[in-house]
Amino acid sequence: MLDATNSENLLEVNNIEVIYNHVILVLKGVSLSVPKGGITALLGGNGAGKTTTLKAISNLLASERGEVTKGTISYRGERVADLNPATLVKKGVIQVMEGRHCFEHLTVEENLLTGAYTRSDGAAAVRQDLEMVYDYFPRLKERRKSQAGYTSGGEQQMVAMGRALMSRPETILLDEPSMGLAPQLVEQIFEIVKAVNEGEGVTFLLAEQNTNVALRYAHYGYILENGRVVMDGPAAALRENPDVKEFYLGMSDEGRKSFRDVRSYRRRKRWLA
Amino acid sequence: DLVVPNLSYRTGPYGANGTQYADGFNDYFTLLNERDGGIGGEIVQVPECETAYNTEKGVECYESTKGSGALVYNPLSTGITYQLIPKVSVDKIPLYTPGYGRTSAKNGKVFEWVFNAPANYWDGASGAINYLLAENGGDLNGKKIALVYHNSAYGKEPIRTLQDLAAKHGFSLTEIPVDAPGQEQKSQWLQIRRDKPDYVLIWGWGVMNQAAIQEAANIRFPMENFIGIWWSGSEVDVTPVGAGANGYKALTFHGVGTEYPIYGDLKQYVIDPGKASQGGEHVGSVLYSRGMYAALVISEAIRKAQELAGTSAITATQLRDGFEQLDITPARLEELGLPDFGPEIKMTCDNHGGSGMSRMQQWDAAAGKWNLITEFSEPDQEVLAPLITEDSEAYAKEAGITPRDC
C-alpha cells in the first residue's frame, strides 16, 4: 500500500467556499490534498458537500449556478479556477458523476468513445484502450451495441467508469460509485478501482456514502460534514476511530448494531460539541 | 395647423408595399407645405404611426393621434378600416379609403363618415370584367375565369360581385383561395394548369402577388390573360419574376410614372432638398403614386372644406362636408400638375365612392415599367348598385343606424 504522507500531492484544495445561486453557502472552507497514485476517500452524509467539492475541482459548478467564492484549487501546482472542464480533462483530471449520467441514446461503445474526445493520439491508441476497458469490464463487451439507456444500473456504472478511463486520465474523481448497486457489484467496482490504481497508477479521489467499503479500499480519508472537513487521516486509523465507528460504520462496542435497535436517543457527535 | 395622420406600415408581412404608399402620401403633403406653405395658409402636419398591418396597433395609432385634432384617416388596411368605421362615426372624423376598405361605404346615407372614391373593390371586379368583355367583343359566354384571392376579408370582397357578373354574362367562375402569406401556391396553380381557364384574376397583397405571378410564369400561363386588382399591380409584384412577368396586367385608378409636371416641383421642393420621405427611393412607383393620389384627394377635400367653412383651420366635421362636395375635375388635376392622372372625382352626400372608374395597365418587363393600355371606364352600376344598397342596409340594421336623407 502506498504511503500517503511521503508522496507528492497532485491536487491541493485550499480552504474553498462554494455558493449556489448567489445565496446558498454549501462549502465553508474545505481543504484537502490528494497524493499521486493514491486512493483518497471523501466521506460524509447527505448534503455534506462531497459532490460539490468534486465539481468545484473539475469546474462543473458553473452550469449549476454555483461558484467558488474563496480559496484555491491547484492541480500539479497550477490553479484550475481559470480552466474549463475540457482543458482539465486534457490535463488528466476526469470526473465520473454521481448518478452515472450515461448518454442514454448512445450505444455502450459510443459512450466509451466519447471518453476519448479530448485525445489526439490517433485511432489506434483509442482502440487499444477500448480493448483495455473491455478487459476490465467484460460485461460491457457483451453489451457494446445496446443503447445505454436500457442497461441496468450496474452496467451504467461500468460504462461511466470505462468512459473515464478512455481519456487516459491521471486522476479520476469518482462520485458515489456504489450508490444503488447490489453488494456484490459494489465489491466488484471497488476491485476494479484498486486494479486500475495499482495497474495504471491512476490517482483516485472518491466520494462515498458507503464508508465501510470506501475505507477498506482507500489509503486516506476525509470526513465532511455540513460543508466542513471534520476529520481526516489514514484510512486504517479512521476505521478505528470510535466516532467513525459509531456514526459511519454503524458499529457499537459489541459489533454491528441492528437497525431495529436504533429507536433510542443517540449520543451527539463529539466534534460538534 | 392641419393634422392628417398617416397610419402606415413599413414592417411586417406587407411592409414592402406599405412603405411606398406611405412615402407618396408624405411627400405630397411635404410638397404642399414647402411650395405653397400648406393648404390655405395652414401647414399640414402628417404624424406617422406604424400599424404593421395589425388591427390592434391600428387602434392604438388611431387613439394616440386622434387627440391631436386629426382630420382624416387613411390606414391602407381593410381590417383596420372595419375596425375604425364604428369609431369614426362616434368620434366624427372622416375615414378615407380609396380602393380598399368596406365597399358598401360608398353609400353615404349609411356611412356618413367613410369615403372610398374614386373606386372600390366591386368597381374593380366589374372593371376587369368590362375589360374582358371589350377584348372579347362584348361576349364572355362560356369563358372560364378563375379568381385567385387572398383568403381574408379583403380577398373575399369581390366574390359576390363576380358571381353576379358571371350570371349576367354567362362565364364560369372558379374561386381559388390562398391563405396568407401565400408564398406556397403550387396546388392552386397546378389546378389552374389543369382547368385551363381563359382568364385568371387575382386579389392578392404582399408576397402572394409575386408568388402567383412566378407560378403563372412557371406554368406558362399567358400573362396577358392574367389580371390583377390594383393591389396586385405594383413593381414589387412583378420585378422579382423578371422577364417571365412580361405582359401581366393590372387595374389601376390613377396614372403611374414620373412623366407628370408635378414631379418637377417634387424634385425641386422635396427630393433635392432631402425632405423626401425615406430618401425618395420609391418616387414614381405605382404604390407611391397611389399614396400621393390619396394625399391629393384629401388635400382637395380640405381646400373645399376651407372654402365652405370660410376658415382655414377647419374641423373634422367640416372636412366631411368638404369631402361630400368634392369635385376634382380634369382641369383641376391639370392645375395640380397631374393631367389625366385620375378620373374625375365627384362626391355627394349619398355617393361617397365617386364614379368607380378604373383603367388597365400592363407590365413591360424589358423597359421595367407599367404602361397604361386603356382609358378610364365606368363599372357596371346596374349590377353594383343593388349590391351596395343591400350590403349597406344590412349593416345599418345590424348597427342600428337610421340612414340619413340626402
Binding site: - | E50, Y82, E157, Q278
Partner: protein
C-alpha cells in the same frame, strides 16, 4: 424593517392559506383596488382605455387562462389565438341571435363554449407531450381560424367575413359598440379580470390545482399516487379555455368592436400570450398580470420614446422595437428564467431581510 413577516402570526390553517399572508401585501392589494375602482374610471380617456388598460386587462385574462394550462398543468399550448377566436365568434353569434339577453351572460357562455372546444383539442394531450403537444395545439390554431373564415354561418354571411359587435348595455351603460365610454369598457374588463383572477387563485390553491401541478411536475408519479391524468388534463384545458374564451369575447366585443379571424386571432396571438406568461412567470397569478402589462406597455412605451422623443422614422423605430423586445425577452430569461413574478418575490425577500442581510 417595515416589510416583514415576523409579528404576522397565523393562528389557524385558514389564515395560513390566505392569499396575501403578509399584512403589507394585503394593504398594497387593497390600495391597488381602490385606485382601480375609485380613481381610474374617473380620469380615464379613450387613449388610455384603448391603448393601455383595456388590452392589458383582456390579455391578463388570457394569460391567466394559458398560465393555468401551461404554468400550472404543464401543457404547453400554442392554440390560444384559435381559442380566443372561438370566444369571439361565440359571443358574436350569441349577441346577434339573442339580443334581448344580457351580454354578460353571452360572454360567460362564450367562455363555456370555448371550454368545450378546448377539451376537445385537449384530448390528444393524454398521449402527446412536451413540444410535440405544443406543435399539435397549432392544429387547433390553424383549423379554427380556417373554420371561422370558411363557414359563412359564423360571420352571419357578411360579404367580407368580418364580424362587428353591435351595441349592448349593462344596467343602461353601453359596454359594446362604438358608443361605449372609456370608463365603461375599462370597468367591464376590470370586473371580469378580477373575478376570474380570484377564481384562478381559488382553483390553483386547492385540490384541482395540486392535481394540475402534480401532472406538470411528473405525470407518471402523479398517476401512480392517484391523480387521474384524463380528468386533470382535461379540466385544465377546460378551465384554461374558459378564461381564454372570455378574453377572446371581450377582445372582440369590448375592445376591437370588429374582427377578422385570421388577422385578429392569428398565430401571433398565441405567441403573444405565451410570452406574457413566461415573462410574467409560469405558475403565478400575479405573473399573468405582470406579463400582460409588460407586453402591452412595452411596445407603446418604446414607440413613444423612439418616435415621440427621439423623432426616429417610424419604420426604423418599428424595427428597433422588434430588436429591443426580442433582446429584452432574452435578457429577462437570462436574468430570471422564472419571470417577473420571481423577480418581485426575490425583491420582497431582500426587503424582508433588509437592513440585516444574512
Amino acid at each position: 424593517m417595515i416589510y416583514r413577516e415576523a409579528g404576522d402570526f397565523k393562528t389557524g390553517y385558514r389564515d395560513d392559506g390566505q392569499t396575501f399572508p403578509i399584512r403589507l401585501d394585503r394593504w398594497g392589494y387593497y390600495a391597488a383596488l381602490a385606485v382601480a375602482f375609485g380613481i381610474i374610471p374617473f380620469v380615464i380617456n379613450d387613449y388610455w382605455a384603448n391603448a393601455v388598460f383595456v388590452p392589458f386587462l383582456i390579455y391578463a385574462i388570457a394569460a391567466l387562462g394559458l398560465n393555468i394550462l401551461t404554468g400550472y398543468a404543464g401543457q404547453v399550448s400554442l392554440g390560444t389565438g384559435g381559442f380566443m377566436a372561438v370566444g369571439a365568434y361565440a359571443v358574436y353569434k350569441l349577441m346577434t341571435a339573442f339580443p334581448e339577453i344580457s351580454v354578460v351572460i353571452h360572454i360567460l357562455l362564450a367562455g363555456g363554449i370555448t371550454a368545450v372546444v378546448g377539451m376537445l383539442f385537449g384530448l390528444p394531450s393524454l398521449r402527446i407531450k412536451g413540444f410535440y403537444l405544443a406543435v399539435a395545439t397549432l392544429a387547433a390554431q390553424f383549423f379554427l381560424v380556417w373554420l371561422f373564415n370558411k363557414v359563412p354561418w359564423f360571420y352571419n354571411y357578411s360579404a367580407s367575413g368580418q364580424i362587428n359587435a353591435p351595441e349592448r348595455t349593462v344596467l343602461g351603460w353601453a359596454v359594446t359598440g362604438p358608443a361605449t365610454s372609456a370608463a365603461g369598457k375599462y370597468l367591464v374588463c376590470l370586473i371580469f379580470a378580477l373575478l376570474l383572477a380570484w377564481v384562478a387563485r381559488n382553483l390553483t390553491r386547492g385540490t384541482l390545482g395540486r392535481k394540475w401541478m402534480a401532472i406538470r411536475d411528473m405525470d407518471i408519479a402523479a398517476e401512480i399516487i392517484g391523480v387521474n391524468p384524463l380528468t386533470a388534463k382535461l379540466s385544465a384545458f377546460a378551465v384554461s379555455s374558459f378564461f381564454i374564451g372570455v378574453a377572446g369575447a371581450l377582445l372582440f366585443a369590448v375592445y376591437l368592436g370588429a374582427a377578422e379571424v385570421g388577422e385578429a386571432f392569428g398565430i401571433n396571438k398565441s405567441f403573444l400570450v405565451l410570452f406574457m406568461i413566461i415573462i410574467g412567470g409560469l405558475g403565478s397569478i400575479f405573473g399573468s398580470f405582470a406579463g400582460a402589462a409588460f407586453m402591452v406597455l412595452l411596445p407603446v412605451l418604446l414607440k413613444n420614446v423612439l418616435v415621440g422623443s427621439f423623432g426616429w422614422p417610424t419604420d426604423l423605430a418599428a424595427h428597433f422595437e422588434l430588436m429591443i423586445v426580442g433582446a429584452l425577452i432574452v435578457f429577462f430569461l437570462i436574468v430570471e428564467p422564472h419571470g417577473l413574478a420571481r423577480l418581485w418575490a426575490l425583491a420582497k425577500e431582500k426587503l424582508r431581510l433588509w437592513p440585516f442581510p444574512h
